[in-house]
């Protein structure tokens, strides 16, 4: 048998068929990530062109490019100020917050092996709401203008630690974590309701508005803080993605394959909580993104967390950016809370994918 025919035999062997099928499947995942990234860039430009000061898409992109590449020598303009000082921080906050919530959802669904898990299942949102209510109604101002933010953040993180401690005493099983989270959620919701009962009409209104969620607080400073937490947390979680996928197959399987299940579960939960806490502290409660972004991603590219985590970040980013763009333009000049729009925009899209795919959720 000459070398050429031997080589042909190797290429045509069933094993190489399986390998090429897997490589194609792998390429599909990469293509999905690239497509959603391009989608975010396009949507960011569109979002930057929308608003009370009308800009064309070309003007929006040119102004963004001028800010990124100052040597292009484009003159400063009103458009530059509007885009770089007002619209882009909001767009960036929507993308980073959506990405953080999407990743947190992917982690929690994977590590708890529960399709209904999301950043708020563990009571993190309730803790943030309680912290914000305490600052608004209780008048806590230790952190000046950031009192609401800091209170929300520390409450969320404290709640996570309490849940973690309770769950650890029961062996850090998914069931123990979910039960501890739900118990804490009800407790903190009761505290928030009690504070609202005590508050004045203005204070209650402020709390309710905060709880509806909004990225309107965005400026480059706040974006930077949320971005820093995301840029630390997300790469670590992607690094642990293979372990998370295997944990999804069961604790005993994961343990048998060499994974320190409790340690991975604990660390990834803390990072997921950190991501959620940073978003809720600045933007309030934005539901749905954390729940559906991982599902949408998995429906398209399957369950490998090495791709699901970045995919959920991108889908979360585009979902929240899309929702915020609709929220601030649909009834302009009235700006709707983005928390309302995420469900209104996301649910039809999610149902479309869900019905089309006709797959079991899990």
């Amino acid at each position: 048998m000459n070398q050429q025919s031997r080589r042909k035999k190797t290429i045509d062997s069933p094993t190489s068929d399986i390998q090429s099928a897997y490589n194609q499947y792998h390429s599909k995942k990469i293509l999905f990530l690239i497509t959603v990234t391009i989608g975010i860039l396009l949507l960011a430009g569109i979002a930057a062109s929308f608003g009370s000061y009308d800009l064309t898409l070309v003007q929006a992109y040119t102004t963004i490019a001028a800010g990124i590449f100052p040597w292009m020598g484009l003159p400063e303009s009103v458009a530059h100020t509007i885009i770089w000082e007002i619209r882009l921080p909001r767009i960036a906050m929507a993308i980073v917050s959506g990405a953080s919530l999407g990743v947190a959802g992917a982690i929690l669904q994977g590590v708890l092996r529960n399709p209904l898990a999301e950043p708020f299942t563990l009571g993190i949102s309730s803790a943030s709401a309680m912290g914000a209510s305490l600052a608004i109604i209780g008048g806590i101002k230790y952190f000046g203008q950031y009192s609401v933010v800091m209170n929300a953040f520390f409450s969320a993180f404290l709640a996570t630690m309490v849940i973690y401690s309770i769950a650890k005493s029961k062996g850090m099983t998914p069931e123990a974590i979910i039960l501890a989270g739900i118990a804490i959620m009800f407790l903190l919701d009761a505290v928030t309701s009690f504070m609202q009962y005590l508050g004045t009409a203005e204070q209650v209104q402020a709390v309710v508005f905060w709880m509806m969620g909004s990225v309107s607080v965005a400026n480059w400073e706040t974006v930077f803080i949320v971005f820093c937490i995301a840029i630390i947390s997300i790469p670590y979680l992607i690094y642990k993605a293979s372990d998370l996928t295997i944990i999804g197959a069961g604790d005993e399987t994961a343990y048998s394959l060499g994974i320190h299940v409790e340690t991975v579960r604990m660390r990834t939960l803390i990072f997921a909580a950190l991501l959620t806490a940073s978003v809720t502290a600045f933007c309030g409660i934005i539901g749905f993104v954390g729940l559906v972004s991982p599902h949408i991603t998995r429906m398209v590219i399957g369950g490998d967390n090495r791709y699901v985590i970045p995919g959920s970040a991108l889908v979360g980013g585009i979902l929240l950016l899309g929702a915020d763009t609709v929220a601030r333009t649909i009834l302009a000049p009235i700006i709707l809370p983005v928390g309302i729009m995420t469900a209104l925009v996301g649910v039809p899209f999610f149902m479309f994918l869900f019905m089309r795919k006709r797959k079991e959720l899990w």
Binding site: T15, Y255, S256
Partner: protein
């Protein structure tokens, strides 16, 4: 050359002692069957050997106590085929088998890993399922996939927890033939928990019979299989005949003995209560 040695292995859940002083050893190229009635401790013993559960006593792998070994190092040496395997959500068969490469590979999946997965799938005749969703497979297909995952792990010791319980007779034979072939070809050791005494007799080199967490007897199947052993361990009257040189257990229906005689003999010989 691998050698597994269990010395006085004991395990208890709170309020319930499961295993008592289990001691046996197996050598390379050997298949050892664990048999015994439900609740006799077979699955618990398998989990103890894989250190999913932490037993007392010692389990030595080539003279080294596995309870002190690093988790990843142990995963390179011991592979488990669980009884009821699940996979991660929306995972394909290929991705499920790829998990078996986790003890050997880093974050990035190498061409070698991909080749080994494809090879294992092809070897078990399930290459056509590679891109199918694991959750959509039949019980038998899932069992084959989990075996492929354990093969990809390239362990020295293979633990199988009732791998044939969900399979039809053809697939039972297929799985055990593959395991038998692997054990001989790679000089591995395999410990396999089984309910089917006759399959155990055909495929294992030695047997450990468990009853209430203790070793009732151990040795070669043709030495162990006797009507008395079946009756004492399972409480069942059976004949043991020879088929192609291997012992074959034929259980006798109580009706064939006469229900009254069967019940009376049990009451007299073992002082058991006659059910109403």
């Amino acid at each position: 050359m691998v050698n597994v040695k269990l010395n006085d292995v004991c395990f208890s859940y709170p309020g319930a002692d499961i295993l008592h002083n289990v001691t046996f050893s197996i050598g390379p190229g050997q298949m050892t069957g664990l048999i015994g009635p439900n609740g006799s401790g077979k699955s618990t013993l398998i989990k103890c050997i894989d250190t999913i559960l932490k037993p007392k006593g010692s389990i030595l792998l080539n003279g080294k106590d596995i309870l002190t070994m690093e988790r990843v190092a142990l995963a390179r040496s011991i592979g488990l085929v669980p009884q009821n395997g699940t996979s991660a959500m929306d995972s394909t068969v290929f991705e499920t088998v790829l998990m078996g490469r986790r003890p050997h590979s880093a974050w990035r999946i190498s061409e070698e890993d991909i080749h080994k997965v494809a090879d294992a799938l092809e070897r078990l005749g399930i290459g056509n399922l590679a891109m199918r969703d694991f959750s959509h497979l039949s019980g038998g297909q899932k069992q084959m996939v989990l075996l492929a995952r354990a093969i990809c792990q390239e362990p020295d010791v293979l633990l199988l927890d009732e791998p044939t319980s969900a399979l039809d007779i053809r697939h039972q034979l297929e799985v055990l033939e593959i395991v038998n072939h692997l054990v001989k070809e790679r000089n591995m050791s395999a410990i396999i928990a089984l309910h089917d005494l006759n399959l155990g007799a055909r495929y294992t080199d030695s047997m450990v019979i468990l009853r209430e967490g203790k070793i009732f007897s151990a040795g070669k199947p043709d030495e162990l299989y006797t009507p008395d052993m079946i009756e004492e361990v399972y409480g069942v009257i059976a004949e043991v005949i020879s088929v192609h040189g291997k012992p074959h257990v034929v259980p006798i229906r109580p009706a064939e003995y006469g229900h009254y005689i069967f019940a009376e003999s049990l009451q007299n010989e073992r002082n058991m209560e006659i059910p109403a």
